[in-house]
Amino acid sequence: MILFFILAALSVIFSLAVVFQRNPVHSAMALVATLFLVAVLFLTLDAPMVGFLQILVYAGAIMILFLFVIMLLNPEALERRRVFWWGLGSTAALVLIVEMAALLSAIPAREGRIAAVAEGFGSPEMLGRTLFRDFVLPFEIASVLLLVAIVGAVVLAKREL
């Protein structure tokens, strides 16, 4: 419980940093920290496989890609703040949070309790079984999607083929 609150607080702080840091590299590093914390939250939810994949894929690959692009382009680090959009964005976010809070507080605490799960929940065997038995078609479609993404990225980013 204490662990959850620490993780939650830290991840909120870092995600705020993502949005409010003016330097994109700082934003990216804050996002890495957030992703790492969320991965640890996954671990507390008995999903170690997904948790480590989260670190591997998000923190290890995608965010490096972001940093790579930031370093390549080296765009102007600072940007002007826009009061109107700033106000709109934070208002919308606040409204969203309040709404969610209202919805969630409607749930009786008893029903929110998490029951114990079966042995081997979240293990690679079980995940693999579900993935390759019930979700074969989506899995294949996802691989096609990745292929499309690779081809698209190469075509877009390469100056001449």
């Binding site: 170690p48 496989m49 690959a61 940093l67």
Partner: protein, 365 residues
């Protein structure tokens, strides 16, 4: 509960102590080894009472002291926070990865079984790769925060190289995982204790030779050592990502590199060379295939196993050193070509062939 925690803490401390010390020793071995190879004397100032051999002890202390006494320089236009953070990010993954590498079988103290592994995670291999993927940040952030173009070039090279070889590394391990059917390092090592045809230990190198070659290449690339030391490339881009580092922060990069070396040596041992397995040694002693049985006390068995593991790790570290002083450095495009056009297809082929063989064997039996 307290005892359990204490045991885990003791194991973690032991492992960190060993890894860091081994890293320090490797620093000395690298100097003396290179001197041996190049007909030089090598580090000759750190001898104790005239014995150069004892200089090892001295170097372990002298090195950090020297580094810590130096000025800690932050580039005036660099990013202070990230500049300080980067060396920590470089050292941290190298140290935590060792947590799931088993350095021995179980140790029985009274009725209590102590698993000689800091953390037994059922997706241990995945954990290793997750942590290894974080080690890029040290380079990228260090390079960026230095605000120096040579560093930037090193950082760009480093991130591209490490991501590319991570892919090849991961795919080459999949063959091993398929053979042993588990993601737990301890389980993998146990499976390697079995005997093939009654006499040959089922080590990974025998079952997956191609995977070992690929993994070894990728591991050298991941540790950023010659011939893959492009992120540093000392004659091209000065010192690459750590051009602007000095003092204690440089020490962390330095130690991080050696710790990474020790960790990948440990990983190679675990996956391909039977980890702590001594051939024909089981829990109660040696059972040779020709029928001789030599019983040993439990503690001796455990010590033998831990010793064997250390020996294997040291051997691979020495191999890294040997490689470093033999080969020239690649060029950026050559590294990329090797990673994507050679290692990756070969690793995929390895996975495919392994899959086919496993299916055939299953259907046959």
């Amino acid at each position: 509960m307290i005892v359990e925690l204490g045991i885990v803490a003791a194991k973690a401390l032991l492992v960190i102590f060993m890894v860091l010390n081994l890293a320090g020793v490797m620093g000395w071995v690298e100097r003396k080894g290179s001197a041996l190879i190049q007909d030089r004397i090598g580090a000759n100032r750190a001898s104790v009472l005239g014995f150069a051999g004892l200089g090892l002890v001295n170097t372990l202390l002298a090195d950090p002291i020297k580094f810590l006494m130096k000025e800690d320089f932050i580039p005036p236009r660099g990013d202070r926070l990230l500049h300080t953070l980067a060396p920590c990010l470089a050292l941290f993954p190298a140290l935590v990865t060792f947590a799931v590498i088993p350095f021995g079988d179980v140790l029985m103290v009274g009725e209590r079984e102590i698993n000689l592994q800091v953390a037994n995670i059922n997706v241990g291999i995945l954990y290793i790769f997750a942590m290894a993927s974080l080690s890029v940040y040290g380079i990228v952030i260090g390079a960026w925060a230095s605000n120096n173009k040579f560093s930037l070039l090193g950082g760009v090279r480093g991130s591209a190289q490490m991501i590319s070889y991570e892919v090849a590394m991961g795919l080459s391990v999949i063959g091993v995982l398929m053979v042993y059917g588990t993601l737990e390092p301890q389980q993998i090592v146990r499976s390697q204790g079995e005997l093939l045809g009654g006499w040959l230990p089922a080590w990974g190198i025998l079952l997956q030779p191609l995977a070992f070659v690929l993994f070894f290449t990728a591991a050298v690339a991941e540790t950023k050592r010659i011939p893959f030391d492009l992120p540093e490339g000392e004659s091209e881009i000065v010192a690459g990502f750590h051009t602007e580092y000095s003092g204690g922060k440089f020490l962390m990069f330095f130690a991080g590199e050696f710790a990474e070396m020790v960790t990948s040596a440990g990983l190679m041992t675990t996956l391909f060379f039977g980890g702590w397995q001594v051939p024909y040694l089981v829990r109660d002693g040696f059972h040779f295939p020709w029928g001789t049985i030599w019983l040993l006390p439990h503690l001796a068995v455990v010590l033998l196993q831990v010793g064997m593991f250390t020996l294997k790790v040291v051997f691979f570290c020495w191999l890294f050193v040997l490689l470093r002083w033999t080969l020239p450095r690649f060029r950026y495009d050559q590294v990329m070509r090797l990673g994507w056009k050679m290692l990756l297809p070969l690793a995929l082929l390895n996975v495919m062939v392994t899959g086919v063989v496993i299916v055939v064997l299953h259907n046959g039996s």
